[in-house]
Symmetry: C2
Subunit: 204 residues, 2 copies
Amino acid sequence: MTENKGIMLVVSGPAGSGKGTVNAMLLKRDDFAFSVSATTRAARPGEVDGVNYHFITRESFLERIDSGDMLEYTEYCGNFYGTPLKEAEEVLRSGKNLILEIEVEGAMNVKRKYPDAVLVLLLPPSYSVQEARLRGRGTETEEKILLRLARAKEEVALADCYDYVVYNYDDKADEAAAHILSIVDAEKCSIKRNDRVADKYLNS
Amino acid sequence: MTENKGIMLVVSGPAGSGKGTVNAMLLKRDDFAFSVSATTRAARPGEVDGVNYHFITRESFLERIDSGDMLEYTEYCGNFYGTPLKEAEEVLRSGKNLILEIEVEGAMNVKRKYPDAVLVLLLPPSYSVQEARLRGRGTETEEKILLRLARAKEEVALADCYDYVVYNYDDKADEAAAHILSIVDAEKCSIKRNDRVADKYLNS
């Protein structure tokens, strides 16, 4: 791995884990970035190609899946959305850490395609807190809440596929973000990301 | 691993790496501790058993080696010095992180006996800086300096056996200490130190 290359950081978490808040805190820093996703849906008024999304044709999207250029992708309402590998690698080469906020299945795909990725599972402190958070929003039907909770159970069952677990306690998203910063810092010190330590040292 | 258990942290580094300074910074914190070593040498005036060392007989020391109770040990000038496993485990159970400042060979022995140990290699920014630091002390003979540098080469050659490498830049021991704090924080979030995440979550 090149020195000073950023870390690809996958942050997953069930509904109510607060991953949006935590990731927004990290993205305020100069050394973290999102990558611009690709999509086959049409640009909405005001959306700029290369800023909001890379707007590409369905044919082009499928080609990029075939050629292995999509780190992960999903189909939603007839449109594809995905993370182009080249885009992600550009961010990493610039030295910034890349945050991918994706679901468990996507996370596993990223790890397969890019084994250097670091997978973090963000969890509410407990299932009962999560349930309270979802109900507290007051914006969703009971049916939808139950679906989200069932989905969360499936996601958490795959915890062992992640590298790290970070608990996001109430009103302490800053502490969760600090743990993720520690994880990135530690990963940069890990021997597996520092090759030829002895060679470089002795020739310096 | 028990929740809230401390991390056993082995910090090795060649002469001139500044490990004494960095470890002293960590030990100022409430959540870090040294363990008291055992030795077969006689107590010097003012030394207190159980504080400076556990003063034990040669027979007792050899028994503890045989029974696997010495995490690592060395013989120097006819006396044994070592880290009793029970002593180390008491510190960890109290929730404090334990720092063991030991040489490469000892570090490898600790990892074999206690696979949960985290091995950090602290390095001067370069070999030439290290050489300058050793000569700058002005307290050692040229012969001794050359011996230390040769020994450093042997130690650094084993970098790949460590989990992490941290560079200690001039006048920035606080940054090196901060990296080690990140490593401890990240290790506590690692999935391998958080067993049954899903079970605990779903039953909470």
